[in-house]
């Protein structure tokens, strides 16, 4: 019945009291407030049919419907509020959970998701996405990086060098995301940094989605000759993946400086090495 809030000196993140889902991000430095919801969905992988036999597989992403299934309407939440960290633990299902985290001084919201093993006992291959929905008027445009270098503009149902006849409204708008994906209305920019290469898109204005996991039952006949299942997967347990999305909300003018520096901090993250205390012996190269 009360709104969950985590906050540091730069950001305030609010969660819906009824659903436990992310509801709003506020950049306190810039005075920006963006209602944005985030949750997990899954696409049902196409198995192909008589007229279009292409199945979703390792190479081919082909959901059989354009609308994904919502994983959960509400989540169980647990709040950890301490001086050195504030976290909201969200439990979406037995195989999907997330921690939304803020450290002091941090200018981004950290979403650490854990997904899997994806259940396929119902005979449906599943492709799991994390989706952010906002009211930003993005005019069909979104931006993805190219191997962490040039940022390219992507337009929904459009190719810059030919007239596109879009036959795959979801997969036809998915692009590789090597390190970041963002949307903007010209004033405000919502950026998501990834910790690994993923597929991503913006299938409606103000929306961003990234595929975080997939488990498929059929081969797509493009050469690999195997479904995306693990070895010895009869009956199979499936893999668990854990990753992070870093979410930045900023003005268009300030966004690039923020996400580029943060991406460098991620790519060249500190290396932690441990040692038992008091067991060292003096050493010199000589």
């Amino acid at each position: 019945s009360h709104t969950l809030v985590i906050q540091n000196e730069h950001l305030r993140v609010t969660f819906n009291p009824n659903t436990g889902l992310l509801q709003e991000i506020e950049n306190l430095d810039q005075g920006l407030r963006l209602p944005v919801s985030q949750t997990f969905y899954w696409y049902n992988a196409s198995t192909g049919d008589f007229t279009h036999p292409q199945a979703s597989g390792a190479y081919i992403f082909r959901p059989d419907k354009t609308k994904p299934f919502l994983l959960s309407h509400w989540v169980k939440t647990r709040l950890v509020k301490k001086a050195l960290v504030q976290e909201v633990h969200q439990n979406f299902s037995a195989w999907c959970s997330q921690v939304v985290r803020l450290y002091p001084g941090q200018r981004h919201v950290e979403l650490e998701w854990t997904v899997g093993p994806v259940p396929v006992g119902d005979g449906w291959g599943k492709e799991i996405i994390s989706r952010f929905d906002s009211q930003l008027k993005t005019n069909g445009r979104f931006y993805t990086d190219s191997n962490g270098r040039e940022i390219l503009e992507r337009r929904r149902d459009y190719r810059p060098t030919w007239d596109l006849n879009q036959t795959e409204p979801v997969a036809g708008n998915y692009y590789p995301v090597s390190s970041r994906l963002y949307i903007t209305d010209g004033q405000v920019q919502l950026t998501v940094l990834t910790d690994r290469s993923q597929g991503g898109s913006s299938l409606s204005d103000g929306s961003l989605e990234l595929m975080v996991h997939r488990r498929l039952l059929l081969d797509d006949n493009r050469g690999v000759g195997e479904a995306l299942l693990e070895p010895g997967d009869e009956p199979g347990v499936g893999l668990v993946v854990r990753g992070r999305h870093l979410v930045l909300l900023d003005t268009v003018e300030a966004a690039a400086a923020r996400h580029r520096l943060q991406a460098q901090r991620e790519a060249l993250a500190p290396q932690l090495v441990l040692a038992p205390a008091g067991k060292g012996t003096p050493y010199s190269p000589g």
Binding site: S1, H2, L4, N16, P17, N18, T19, G20, A58, Y59, H73, W74, V75, K76, T77, R78, L79, V80, K81, K82, A83, L84, V85, E87, H89, N91, S97, Y103, P104, G105, S197, V224, G225, E226, L228, E230, P231, R242, Q264, R265, L268, A269, P270, Q271, L272, V273, L274, A275, P276, A277, G278, K279, G280, T281, P282, Y283, S284, P285
Partner: protein, 172 residues
């Protein structure tokens, strides 16, 4: 003897689109993982040698590769240990170190011997009967350099985090 050549080769192989996107056959994916693990193993020796040389003390360095799932046998068993933070960036950083531990109170000292603020939080899953404490403290490292933090376990305190921080389950 350590070396980076093997990891370099493994990383080069992993530039293939099959490795980047996961479109390889499973036995090839297993081989990518095998090569990367073998390369990283040699690199750990290299990093240990470098730290011993730069720090002037040869330690039994431990690389906890499962920190992302809160597993590190050293920090979960030792009453005292050192955390070495190496910064590969060309500017100084402050980083929040998170380490799985087994108790609820620790004293963390900076390289200059000053006490660093630290906290232990419980990261166990909902309904879990077991507590999984994690030690959190901010650490700094100079550009292209490292700093060493010392951690000592203190006499145990009773954890009270569950009661203080639990919130009602959201329902609709």
């Amino acid at each position: 003897q350590g070396g980076s050549a093997r990891l370099r080769q493994a990383m080069a192989v992993a530039q293939h689109h099959d490795a980047v996107t996961g479109t390889s056959k499973q036995h090839v994916a297993n081989d990518y993982a095998r090569q990367l693990a073998a390369g990283w193993e040699r690199c750990q020796v290299l990093v240990s040698n470098a730290l011993a040389s730069l720090g002037g003390s040869k330690e039994d360095f431990v690389f906890c590769n499962l920190l992302n799932i809160s597993v590190c046998p050293l920090t979960q068993t030792a009453s005292q240990f050192q955390a070495v933070l190496y910064n590969p960036l060309a500017w100084s950083i402050t980083w929040t170190v998170r380490l799985p531990v087994s108790d609820w109170a620790y004293h963390v000292r900076s390289p200059s011997g000053q006490t660093v603020p630290s906290e232990v939080i419980d990261v166990s899953a909902e309904r879990s009967k077991n507590f999984h404490p994690e030690l959190i403290f901010p650490a700094s490292a100079p550009p292209l350099g490292f700093s060493i933090y010392s951690v000592t376990r203190l006499p145990s305190k009773t954890p009270r985090f569950r009661d203080c921080c639990a919130v009602p389950v959201a329902q609709s």
